[in-house]
Symmetry: C2
Subunit: 665 residues, 2 copies
């Protein structure tokens, strides 16, 4: 850290004071976030190793044009891959190392997150043995190609075909129409030489729908596309521009039969189709992926609040009274109301992701014993959870940006890129709205089970177990059992009411789909309520379990209460509508929430420090650990590429002729 200069002493000093205010040990909370002492130590080690390599610096990243950005992404990712192999990190270590080195998504992301896992998850044992080491050691680089230009959410609608030709024992892959063009696969545009391709399997004259194939796209020698392959980058995007999302057209491209991934389905030499194994495990994989996604949403939001909270402690605006010093933004109630619940939400999402991972691990043990009973609930809930938490993080990051005023709009703040890189999380791995509807379908079924007296899965027992709720003073509204009971009551009443609406619509229109569609706005709303309940419960469970010292236990409880109470205030509509609270009690909830803001205010900077991001991984002048914001903002600006020349060509080409033009008088 630089010594504070004359102009910047105040900012640095403000942050220093904030850190002294906190009532708990940051390091202890960091351990809770990164699972435990050991997990945290491992993460620290990864960040320390990363900090030794200047090649991972990303100071200039906002100044690069697309091709340079793409290259920069490849550079960090390939270097990180080599170092990770040399050091010999385990899975978590690799992930931490990636977090420390890859500040933004890059062309190798899908190789790691989709290509390799699909080979592992959908290949037969033999196929895995052959392909997985090639992928893991980066002998081949892959992408994952499912989406087509005309087909996204509805995978069964894809048009790319894979026709089995028993004569040559090959599949013929083909793109029959414009709308069948593969579009979006990450890293496919320029980076990958292989792809996992989803295509309609056709054999013996029958169309078996979407199946998975391995296809080589580019030469291993000179990286040029193979015959029959048209492939390229789809163009610049809102964010993620270091990634070469690609398009792909196949013109009767032939691959050997054994390049269909055959764990769950098989085509024999003569073209006979057969199913194998249990497709249920595929759902298990989805639950795992979504849980990871939830945690990731929490950590992305945590980056946003780290920047906004630190800056709000340093930024001062408006004298509260004549002659007084201008106030730190963090002391405005309105700023607290926007930001502190987001700090709580970052914790909530992180912990809810962990909670789901735990559930998943436990269920896997049961699956081992062929007991799949927990799967449907877990699967349904995880869909909506991904939607809820990625929405929350996306909206939250943008709120953080706006809370930084004009400077939040500058690339230097790191927030525009954080937002635009994170934004597609609400669309990929399942469009959020469609995911909510999946959760809702399950909830509707459960409601119908209640009506017909059938048993319910554990997580849905609240549909029949009504709690008595006692609220006589506003402090009752911070009691965990009260909060959970309120969320339960709201969800229960919404679900009951949607079941009724659906039935009415069903009777009226006499068609399942039309009735579903006519109920869908309400269905989404009850799926949200169910998932919010889940997060509240998960957070409360963590808050009650974790923390060695009083300080950390206290602050976790404050955050859990704030998360829950803020949710009630923000969604007052459904809580009042379902009569979970009276208007008077809602007023108390509002007051109590304001009290919580006051209690958490002095802990704010320490709470974001606990996420332990490095300055490099935040990539934000406003979010600097040392608070020395203005000095570095001005330095950053001076480096703007437009400043390389004092007078730009545009002056000679356009401005000067306009200013000097002859008057037409």
């Amino acid at each position: 850290m630089d010594a504070p200069g004359p102009d910047r002493r105040r900012e640095v000093h403000d942050l220093y004071k904030e850190r002294k205010k906190a009532s708990f040990t940051v390091e202890e909370l960091t351990q809770v976030i990164y699972w435990n002492n050991e997990g945290n130590a491992q993460r620290k080690r990864a960040f320390e190793i990363a900090s030794k390599y200047p090649m991972f610096d990303a100071d200039d990243v906002h100044f690069l044009d697309r091709e340079d950005l793409y290259e920069k992404g490849l550079k960090s990712a390939t270097c990180a891959a080599e170092i990770a192999m040399d050091v010999g990190f385990d899975v978590r270590g690799r992930r931490s190392f990636a977090a420390a080195t890859e500040v933004f998504p890059n062309g190798l992301g899908v190789h790691k997150s989709m290509f390799t896992p699909t080979l592992r998850g959908q290949g037969s044992e033999e196929q895995q043995k052959y392909w997985v080491p090639l992928a893991e050691n980066y002998r081949i680089i892959g992408s994952y190609a499912q989406t087509e230009i005309g087909h996204g959410t509805y995978v069964r609608g894809i048009e790319t075909t894979a026709k089995y030709d028993p004569k040559t024992e090959q599949f013929v892959l083909h793109t029959p129409t414009l709308t069948a063009t593969k579009f979006w696969p990450g890293g496919m545009g320029k980076t990958a030489n292989y792809v996992v391709l989803i295509a309609r399997l056709i054999t013996q004259g029958k169309d078996y729908g979407p199946h998975t194939f391995i296809v080589q796209l580019r030469s291993l020698e000179d990286h040029t596309p193979l015959p029959g392959i048209t492939v390229g980058d789809i163009g610049p995007k809102m964010g993620g521009n270091a990634v070469d999302n690609g398009f792909l057209r196949l013109d009767h491209v032939r691959i050997p039969r054994m390049q269909m991934l055959m764990k769950n389905a098989q085509v024999s030499l003569d073209g006979q189709y057969s199913l194998r194994g249990s497709p249920k495990l595929v759902y298990g994989t989805m639950v795992y992926a979504r849980a990871t996604f939830c945690r990731l949403s929490g950590l992305s939001l945590a980056q946003g609040v780290t920047i906004a909270i630190r800056y709000s402690a340093v930024r001062r605006q408006t004298q509260p009274r004549p002659g007084a010093e201008e106030l730190q933004l963090l002391d405005y109630q309105t700023q607290q109301y926007k930001l502190l619940p987001l700090v709580a939400a970052a914790y909530a999402a992180t912990f809810a992701g962990d909670f789901m991972l735990d559930l998943y691990t436990k269920s896997m043990e049961e699956f081992g014993k062929q007991d799949f009973s927990a799967l449907p609930e877990l699967h349904a809930t995880s869909a909506g959870m991904k939607a809820l938490l990625s929405d929350l993080a996306a909206t939250g990051i943008e709120t953080c940006r706006r809370c930084c005023g004009g400077h939040g709009y500058l690339a230097a703040s790191g927030l525009p890129q954080l937002y635009s890189d994170f934004a597609p999380s609400t669309t990929y791995e399942g469009d959020n709205l469609v995911l909510y509807l999946q959760t809702a379908r399950y909830l509707l079924k459960c409601a119908q089970r209640v009506a017909t007296g059938q048993t319910l899965p554990k997580g849905l027992l609240y549909l029949i177990e009504e709690q008595d709720i006692q609220i006589s003073r506003s402090s009752d509204l911070t009691k965990f059992d009260v909060l959970v009971a309120l969320y339960e009551k709201r969800a229960r009443n919404l679900i009951k009411s949607v079941a009724l609406t659906y039935q009415l619509n069903r009777d009226k229109v006499n068609d399942d789909f039309d009735a579903w569609n006519a109920t869908s706005v309400e269905l989404v709303s009850c799926a949200k309520a169910h998932c919010q309940l889940f997060v509240v419960k998960a957070f409360i469970e963590v808050a009650q379990m974790k923390g060695e010292t009083f300080g950390v236990r206290r602050v976790l409880k404050l955050l859990a209460s704030l998360y829950a109470l803020h949710g009630i205030v923000e969604e007052a509509g459904t809580f009042l509508q379902t009569e979970a609270l009276t208007p008077h009690q809602m007023e108390m909830a509002h007051e109590q929430m304001l009290e919580l803001l006051k209690s958490i205010r002095p802990e704010a900077v320490a709470l974001v420090d606990a996420f332990a991001f490095s300055d490099r991984s935040l990539c934000s002048v406003l979010g600097r650990y040392d608070g020395d914001v203005y000095t570095h903002l001005f330095e950053w600006s001076k480096n703007s590429p437009l400043n390389k020349k004092e007078v730009l060509d545009g002056y000679y080409k356009y401005l000067r002729p306009l200013m000097k033009r002859k008057s037409k008088l």
Copy 2:
């Protein structure tokens, strides 16, 4: 338009069918939007003239790097300026021509929107005579420099000084600290050679606070910065990257006394300070600017919904039942629920802007007679209206983007740029939250007037005039008087309750500012409620007045009802909390809103067509008028700059070494 090819016939046909469904004449509604037949004809003419110049094409705009984008912006703006001068457009004509030619903000924007108007509004008559023609004829190019790196919202906190030196009859302009660096002025980085500068006026040893000066920054001969001036671009931003927002430091720069703008304040030869004229008119200018801003928010949102609605008519996803064709997105209730209220909101904001402009014009007449009684209300309301409508448009545009799924994330959709260019509207010309608080301060005063029995301004009479509200069936909830009464009741009760809270806090803390701060979250909420009421009333007034034919009148009424009813459902919390509606009535509101969605669905495409954007001004492949989306999406992608070379340098530098590296075994 191309003839439809085999793959794209469906999309083109779908849009054709949508247009046939509409029950009203698009052209007639367009006239309502652009004020009347004449206004519309004038706008059409501007678009037609623009369409003749291929130099305004913006097809490649998403592929440009920053410097090229900056140049492109200058090119269109300077050409448009020359043509506009040659054609001799009036003010509105110029504005339409700009809308037709300047697809994104550029380096000349602040010259037109801030520099020239400030000369006109704050210069003495003599100063205006000298400076305004120079600016209007682009003999000089200016910017507007108020914000400093450490000072934004709180203008009185700025540090730049202008010390009067009676010996030389000059002001000495100086930047005393790092935080005093001017930061953000649009076009100042590289384009402007002049600037209107806000600095603290110091004369005869006294600091008179912020005043306005004209300062030359760059040579009129070679555009290099003058001595004592350090100026440059602040760097890349989330959007608006064709604009060179700038930084500026002044090192004892001297300007003649007559370059202080002297309409409202004066410094004499010997340094005597005096006030002149009425500062009230400055407020009038602000009302005008904000009203224009509201209309602009409406039109920006209209661009977003034009794209999303057209694409939703063309995009199909998911078979409703086996064998059926996939459904148009526009037929999903959830998609309607997201998009149709935004169509209504685009109309609402546009009309509310007009409504405010009318009020402003009427008040100006009264001001002429020295009657300023309407000003405080107009000023207070316009602050919150700017906040409400720019928030609405920003959030709405992003919803439009997400409703387009993955393709919405591609620059080709036009939506990322629309969002990122529009986003700062929530920050500049007054941060929205701060503006709400301004409105709230006025409302609080009015509530206090009620308590002490004083009279109220016209727009606030609803605080004392309670209406009886009759709702017995759900169709009652589309009646305009009922809707207005509900919004009034909510606002009234919120304002009364905030006055109470403020008083309680005031009694408790015994300090004005602390009491204010402790009430501020509630204050913002009542300012919103007041402004929403204003928009609802404005929209209803237009809906009742405009439209020659039954078709247009009907659809305007449907939209006004939807806007109001959707607001009630979305903000159910405060409507229930204030007991404007019972939970049962809220359920009816929800049902009635769903009915409205159904009625408006067939009009959707025609409703966005009525805004009459050209394909060029939308700059969106998804929003094409002809619906031929997929063909052009693929063509656009093929032109991605990354596709210029088949194999990129990154392959040789990073990928190949990784793939071919020697195994360490």
